[in-house]
């Protein structure tokens, strides 16, 4: 939204206030100013002239050229003009030779198509009034010929551009008068009233046939049947302001409705009165087409609200008029519509049709219904200001509730001070509220307010809203910052965050992992490549793309997708992600934080070692989180393309399986990366208990030396280490203080199918040095245990 300071000056005296200062104060008190534009017009030396002769030039390439004679009062000029709207009788702006126009064009005498041209008729763009250049400027007949244009269109205006996002709750600021009101309070200068024609004058006339079927979507609809010269050009003061805001001008009827919209925020519409007999406001009712006045056929849905002439739709309510009821050059009968449409209804239709008109934008902000009346009165006043006469054919006919009274609200003065944190001077608060249009009375520490109808109920309804009104204009900068005082209190640790942060420290800090974040959804194309589908998942109704409709139930697939792109610039890497996964639980939240990782190494590396290294990282993680490593057991079935029997393990926590780890093999490995090894893991981080401050028990340092004993055991390679470990775990002996796995040997000299696993036991007693007999006794007991499980020494 741009505001013109030329326009604001109609209502508030801006003398002596530099635009920069005004912009800054608006930003701090009202709405964010984005930019200040200086509009420079090129009207100096240009004069008002009437076309008294117009003759088409014929010849190759000259189809659209006319030779015109222009009467500029004391002088006549001849010119050649290519504009489509040149015609005898048209009053326009003439720039004689010697005048400079927009873009640095210096007008000179020329000969065009054999005709002498002593200057040019100007479009709004050539005059620097706007960028419209569809035709030459049209000026009302009443302007004296020869009048210097800069007397009507001053050379300079300043436009302040406001960020529309900061106006969404302020329908009153979608017009200049609303800003003038704010500025009058900011500057503490008087606000001139908005002059408006008294509609009660037409009260004795018949009503216009009007029927509103949907008060839900149209709380208030008013119309007035009028006779006036609707098709003539609007006065230059009106045109120059509309142009300055980028609003194209058409004719008096259309321009005056736009003018009042830019002034008051209330959109209105001028129908060709001869085309209408009875107005109905009703939804479309069925799917159908409708041609808007831009000539486009729009597809309407049953709920879209339309304005009907009996059974024929004539306008898209609050958005755009229809093509066939438009005011044209010689229209003299106009039905003026001023209505209030429900914000949400207008927004839905205009969004769907991508028809974000100025009118639609304003209705979307919930215009106050009271403006329905004010706007019509103001339009008539502007016609008078334009020097036009009009005749009402009907009374101002109104259906619905214009709701144009002040809404009462009581506010305690003390509450204002308490919320501000400073004592706001009463007199200043009263001045601010009165200036904003509130009715203000004070009694016994209470503020008795009437909220003005131009402020929306959504914006102003409770005391806190009033505090905001006072403080923003009092100045937030005048409030001295203070720190709250609070009692000392113990802050409990957030265990789930603690768990996540510790995981990051262990994996990234000690094990070279790099933390990544992936999107919350799967990519169905990638899942297809992996030949996997989640059994059930949460689905998005409006996914970012058709492939991303499913929320992740596992973090692994998206991580696997990162292997190939990163491999091109890194020989080996370890990635991890801590993120949420979502189950499709019937009731309640089913959202858990998972940890997953993928690691990549070149093919030549030892794959078993690769898995072992990652497992030890997970063990470190377990120790860091809950004081001990995880259990790992061979995975007995194919769970997913990545978690397969034989090449993956199930990770166990205290209460059962909490995840898995494995090596990619076969088809999925080829899909993920053309060469190399990939290990994945995933675990339910929330299933890992966190011990924030572990209970550590000091063990007495050994006083007596112990003894190391090595054993190499023969074990079926197929059964794997975990099963062997279980056997060893089942053997308990008071002298064993420690057991280490040293290495595994496979190969020559061993019985078929067997591998040799070497363990080192440390034996010690707390109160004496071990004797040879004790050690022998341990050995024979241990060997008996092994024998009972069919294990022989190598």
């Amino acid at each position: 939204m741009k505001i013109s300071l030329d326009w604001i000056s109609d209502f508030v005296n801006l003398e002596g206030v530099p635009p920069e200062e005004l912009a800054e104060r608006l930003t701090l008190a009202t709405a964010e100013v984005e930019q200040i534009h200086i509009l420079r017009r090129f009207t100096q030396g240009v004069v008002v002239g009437r076309i008294i002769a117009c003759e088409a030039l014929h010849g190759p390439g000259e189809q659209r050229l006319h030779r015109v004679e222009v009467d500029c009062g004391s002088q006549r000029y001849q010119s050649v003009c290519g504009a489509p709207n040149v015609r005898v009788g048209l009053v326009s702006a003439f720039a004689p030779a010697g005048v400079s126009l927009a873009g640095g064009t210096l007008i000179t005498e020329q000969t065009i198509a054999g005709c002498r041209s002593e200057g040019i008729l100007c479009s709004a763009a050539e005059l620097g009034m706007s960028h419209w250049h569809e035709g030459v400027l049209e000026i009302p007949n009443s302007v004296l010929l020869g009048t210097p244009l800069d007397a009507l269109v001053p050379v300079e205006d300043v436009l302040i551009e406001i960020d529309n996002k900061s106006l969404t709750h302020r329908p009153d600021l979608w017009g200049h008068y609303g800003f003038a009101r704010e500025i009058s309070v900011i500057l503490d200068r008087p606000l001139k009233p908005l002059a408006s024609y008294d509609l009660s004058e037409f009260q004795s006339l018949p009503g216009y046939p009007l029927e509103v079927e949907s008060f839900q979507d149209c709380p208030c609809y008013g119309c007035l049947d009028l006779r006036f010269r609707a098709g003539v050009p609007s006065p230059l003061w009106m045109q120059r302001r509309l142009h300055a805001l980028g609003q194209r001008t058409f004719n008096l009827a259309v321009d005056v409705t736009n003018y009042v919209m830019w002034e008051l925020g209330q959109p209105t519409h001028a129908f060709d009165g001869d085309r209408l007999r009875k107005i109905r406001v009703a939804p479309m009712g069925k799917e159908s087409g409708f041609v808007t006045l831009d000539g486009q056929e729009r597809r309407m849905l049953p709920d879209d609200l339309l304005i009907w002439n009996e059974s024929e739709p004539v306008a898209l309510a609050g958005i755009m008029g229809g093509l066939h009821s438009e005011v044209s050059l010689d229209t003299t009968h106009v039905l003026l519509e001023s209505a209030n449409f429900r914000a949400d209804r207008v927004r839905r239709t205009s969004l769907r049709l991508d028809l974000r008109t100025e009118a639609a934008q304003r209705f979307e902000k919930s215009q106050p219904p009271g403006n329905v009346i004010t706007a019509v009165g103001r339009i008539l006043q502007c016609l008078i200001l334009s020097g036009e006469t009009f005749e009402a054919l009907s009374k101002f006919t109104l259906a619905g509730d214009p709701d144009s009274y002040h809404r009462p609200l009581l506010v305690e003065w003390e509450q204002v001070d308490r919320m501000a944190g400073v004592a706001v001077p009463r007199e200043e608060a009263r001045r601010i509220l009165t200036g904003l249009g509130f009715q203000v009375a004070t009694r016994d520490g209470l503020l008795e307010l009437g909220i003005p109808p131009h402020r929306s109920r959504r914006d102003l309804s409770i005391p806190a809203d009033i505090v905001e009104e006072i403080l923003r204009l009092y100045g937030y900068g005048r409030i001295e910052p203070r720190l709250p005082i609070a009692p000392l209190r113990h802050l409990p640790v957030n265990e789930s965050l603690q768990r996540e942060h510790r995981t990051r420290r262990v994996l990234a800090g000690a094990h070279q992992f790099i933390e990544v974040q992936n999107y919350i959804w799967f990519d169905s194309r990638w899942l297809q490549e992996l030949s996997w589908q989640p059994q059930e998942c949460l689905r998005l109704r409006n996914p970012p793309s058709q492939h991303n409709g499913c929320l992740r139930t596992t973090l692994v697939p998206n991580l696997l997708a990162l292997v190939r792109p990163n491999r091109t610039h890194c020989d080996s890497f370890r990635l991890f992600e801590i993120s949420r996964v979502f189950g499709n639980a019937e009731e309640g939240q089913h959202e858990r934080t998972f940890l997953a990782g993928v690691t990549y190494q070149p093919s030549r590396a030892d794959a078993e070692e690769h898995v072992r290294v990652i497992r030890s990282a997970l063990d470190d993680l377990g120790v860091s989180l809950c004081g001990k490593g995880f259990g790992f057991e061979p995975c007995s079935e194919d769970v997913s393309p990545w978690q397969k029997r034989g090449v993956s393990l199930v990770i166990h926590g205290d209460a059962g399986p909490i995840g898995g780890i494995g090596l990619l093999t076969g088809k999925i490995l080829k899909t993920v990366v053309p060469d190399g090894q990939v290990v994945w893991f995933e675990l339910d981080l929330e299933a890992v208990p966190i011990v924030v401050h572990p209970a550590i028990k000091f063990a007495q340092l050994p006083v007596y030396p112990g003894s190391w004993q090595d054993f190499s055991l023969l074990w079926d390679s197929d059964r794997g280490f975990a099963a062997l470990e279980a056997v060893l775990n089942a053997f308990r002996h008071p002298l064993v203080s420690r057991r280490d796995f040293v290495y595994r040997f496979k190969g020559k000299g061993l019985p078929p199918g067997k591998s040799s696993y070497t363990f080192r036991y440390h034996l010690a007693a707390a109160d004496h040095t071990l004797s040879a007999e004790e050690i022998d006794a341990f050995r024979s007991e241990f060997l008996r245990h092994l024998e009972s499980h069919g294990i022989a020494l190598r």
């Binding site: 900068g477 790099i514 689905r539 929320l551």
Partner: protein, 341 residues
Amino acid sequence: MEEILQQLEADLAKAKTLPEVEQLRVKYLGRKGSITLLAKNTDFSRLSPDEKRSFGQRLNALKNRAEEAIQEAQQRLAQQGASLGMVWSGADLSLPSSDRRFGAMHPISLIQRELEEIFQGMGFRVLSGYEVETEYYNFDALNIPPDHPARDMQDTFWLDDGRLLRTHTSANQVRALERYGAPIRAIFPGRCFRNEAIDASHENTFYQLEGLLVDRDISVAHLIGVMKTLLSAVFHREVTVRLRPGFFPFVEPGFELDVQCLICGGNGCATCKRSGWIELIPCGLVHPRVLEFGRVDTRIFSGFAFGMGLTRMAMMKFGIPDIRLFNSGDIRFYEQFPVSM
């Protein structure tokens, strides 16, 4: 004999490196060294027992003094060498370290942790929330009207079951109030989602940190004071802030908090778009209706809430020009954020 020792000491004084000293050791004390040869070349059979004893004592003394001198020179040079980074005994300790290095953390993890620590230092607790939220907590309980555009499919990702991906961490406000009541001081960091087209400055997935403080008689003055203290901690220096009106349905009054541009000091530069201020934190006093949804007695308690864009803070702090990098999965991006927590 004294001559040999003097010669050795002179040689040692000239030696500049440990290998030179080693050469001197070989020259004097090695198997063919001059001191060794002195003993070997002496015909003891021609000496009387007294002479033998005396010669032997002198020779031992000479050896000892030579060894002492050499050790002293070695230590002297070793110490010099350590400070000069010079090589010693053929071992070059200045070779680069092995390529084993730290991993890296996601930049959001770093900035989130930093802010958590600052807030914890100010007595705020850190709470977690849900990424899949109900319409109630994300919109209704925040006083966002049923027909508000934010609820549209164009803005919010809706689930088939009627829930949604939370559009802001503000969704935690009422949950926290219900659970912990007032007074409360808490922050909620987390990932949020909005249905936006992605480009260098827009993402459908981003991170926020919401803050909530509810206590007796909390005022606009408190909000400004806390924000100023907090931002001074974040930027490691005193900052100037200003409030201007901002509209959010769940606060009243609502503000945009600007911080005076830290690059130009308020004079205007490209970063602050010549305004001297950077829009940083939407905030405000918690709307009474939100407190009521959280079952807080609004006759006793009031509070303020604020939302910080973690993604935006990370972009500002680390100079990241493109928001898409955060979810890019590209190691070369993440590697730039070493472990520091």
